[in-house]
């Protein structure tokens, strides 16, 4: 872990359980998770001190507002990956238009996701 990047990862998701387990996971690779569950909270996180190195967006529960969330991340040049269920596949794939690095179907393998987050952070 000594060479692990230390950065902030914004966890954009409605479900607290997902934010919790992702926060624990990114902490293992020396990163800090910042959970947000609304557009307003995301704006605050993006405008606060300290650059966000990456973001993970879980589209579940956001509906069409997920487009605005992705647009904000793109505008702040924060690389991000998207998580979706098979039912949310359409919402997930539309995020590619806003620069999503990848769209992953839940549940994802913990190790693969962490590798992806680390690669986003080094961009």
């Amino acid at each position: 872990m000594t060479d692990a990047p230390r950065g902030r990862v914004i966890l954009v998701m409605k479900r607290p359980g997902n934010a919790r387990v992702l926060d624990e996971a990114v902490a293992e690779v020396g990163m800090t998770g910042v959970g947000v569950s609304s557009e307003r909270a995301l704006r605050r996180a993006l405008e606060s001190e300290g650059r966000a190195h990456a973001a993970l967006v879980d589209v579940s529960g956001f509906g069409s507002s997920v487009r605005e969330l992705c647009r904000l991340l793109q505008a702040h040049e924060v690389p991000f990956a998207v998580l979706s269920t098979p039912e949310d596949a359409a919402a997930g794939s539309c995020t590619l238009e806003y620069g999503a690095a990848s769209v992953l179907q839940k549940p994802v393998a913990r190790s693969a996701l962490l590798a992806l987050v680390r690669s986003l952070d080094t961009r």
Binding site: G17, N18, R20, V21, A25, D58
Partner: protein
């Protein structure tokens, strides 16, 4: 200090220890299988509560919080006082704080902290007994079957190598079979139930003998009580060692060529009211009066009524009953399981020295111990008692008839060494009673129907045989 690996340790359930030929072998792995509510947890808690005071026990559970577990154990008479509890049940916050997740598989999130908790508890407590309730939960945290099997094997080795004996439960079902756990275990204890009975069956015990077959058990406020089915004795008692049982009725014992040989099964059969119970009482009273303990199990009649009726017939029952020479046990409907009843009889025989057992009646036996296995239980009971040299009298009621009769409508005459039939006869238009001997395996007997009266003094034979009835054996 760990238990010696050759040592037998108690499950906390004496009947189960008996099935296992003395208990569990220390430092091995035992699977308890069964559907919901069968008693797996109670069995495991009994095992833990039987831990000697100088040793430690650990419960690892996935379903109940510790306080709930202790309270539930207390309701079945189990004190978990010194037992350590590692509850891995989800807290209420998991629901109220919406902690459910779907971003990772459960195996990615839960497994590692769970294993850390278990390892920490085992290293800290150093238990000699561990009960895991249940390992099925671990299945849901494994990514595939291979991983699960490997993990279980590894976990069991981890615990046993630290000196513990492990009992673990499995919620077996057709959807989630547990064949893999059965292969891994050193012994498999199955708890089953249907509408009529609950049974325990041991299907595997590496390196040890065990009692095969299904044995009934009771789960109630006293926990689990297992009633091992009576085993045939290792040797037959020489029947000649004991004198025959006599009736004390003038003229009857000579008809039987001296009485009923010890260690035989006698069927007294006949229609209602003809005097079957009274005849059985004669044998029991005579045995008790001659210093040979007898026990009458009353399935139809209450003890009070039986005593009053006996007194009315002038039978000397009070003194013998008070002395303990004659035991009267009223068996209320559904009070006992069939195997439970045989355990009671066996206890009376082995601990109280009973030499004559009277079952009054077979109909009551069947009704009171409602179970599909009653006939099998009756067979096992009678035959095993006989092999122990104990005499058995079975009282059997047949349909009322004055023309012909069946020895038994229940197809049980095969079970009997002796058959005495009582019958109504109607010579010259009057209704009278008659007694005859139909079968006696170990001696000859006087054939023919012997008239008798039922009155003061009980049964009184009247002269020699008068006529022979046609007989139809069912």
């Amino acid at each position: 200090m760990a238990d010696d690996a050759t040592q037998r340790i108690s499950t906390g359930i004496p009947g189960l220890d008996e099935l296992l030929h003395g208990g569990l072998v220390a430092r091995r792995r035992y699977l308890v299988r069964g559907g919901p509510g069968r008693g797996k947890t109670t069995l495991g808690l009994s095992f833990l509560s039987a831990t000697p005071a100088d040793k430690t026990a650990l419960f690892i559970g996935f379903q109940e919080p510790e306080d709930e577990l202790r309270a539930n154990a207390a309701t079945v008479g189990i004190d978990l006082g010194d037992v350590h509890v590692l509850s891995l049940a989800p807290s209420e916050e998991f629901f109220t704080q919406r902690e459910a997740y779907d971003v990772f598989a459960a195996s990615d999130v839960e497994q590692e902290p769970l294993i850390d908790s278990i390892v920490d508890a085992v290293e800290r407590i150093r238990p000699t007994r561990v009960f895991v309730d249940s390992l099925t939960q671990l299945r849901f945290l494994s990514s595939d079957v291979f991983q699960y099997r490997k993990q279980v094997l590894s976990f069991l080795r981890f615990v046993t190598e630290r000196g513990a004996t492990v009992v673990f439960s499995s919620e077996s079902s057709t959807d989630v079979p547990d064949d893999d756990l059965q292969f891994i275990s050193d012994a498999v204890i199955n708890l089953q139930a249907d509408n009529a009975q609950s049974t325990v069956t041991v299907t595997k015990f590496r390196g040890s003998g065990f009692m095969r077959g299904a044995h009934q058990f009771r789960a109630d406020h006293r926990g689990l009580t297992v009633f091992p089915r009576m085993r045939p004795p290792t040797r037959n008692v020489d029947r000649a060692e004991r004198a025959p049982l006599t009736s004390g009725i003038d003229g009857l014992d000579p008809i039987l060529h001296g009485g009923l040989e010890a260690g035989t099964v006698t069927l007294i059969t006949g229609p209602t009211g003809v005097g079957k119970s009274t005849l059985a009482s004669h044998f029991a009273i005579d045995a008790a009066a001659n210093g040979r303990r007898a026990a009458i199990y009353l399935f139809e009649e209450e003890v009070d009524l039986f005593v009053r009726r006996s007194r009315a017939l002038g039978l000397d029952i009070d003194r013998l009953h008070a002395d303990g020479a004659l035991a009267l046990e009223q068996v209320e409907p559904l009070r006992y399981l069939a195997d439970e009843f045989t355990s009671l009889v066996r206890h009376d025989v082995e601990e109280n020295g009973v030499e004559l057992v009277v079952i009054d009646s077979i109909t009551g036996f069947e009704l009171a111990l409602a179970s599909e296995t009653v006939r099998m239980a009756l067979h096992a009971l009678a035959k095993n008692l006989a092999r122990l040299g104990i005499s058995v009298i079975l009282v059997n009621e047949t349909a009322v008839s004055t023309e012909e009769f069946l020895v038994s409508e229940r197809d049980i005459s095969y079970l009997s060494d002796n058959v005495i039939y009582l019958h109504y006869v109607h010579p010259n238009g009057s209704l009278r009673r008659g007694l005859g001997v139909l079968k006696k395996r170990l001696s000859g007997f006087e054939s023919g129907l012997h008239p008798f009266e039922l009155g003061a003094g009980g049964i009184r034979l009247q002269g020699g045989p008068q006529r022979t009835e046609p007989v139809t054996d069912a």
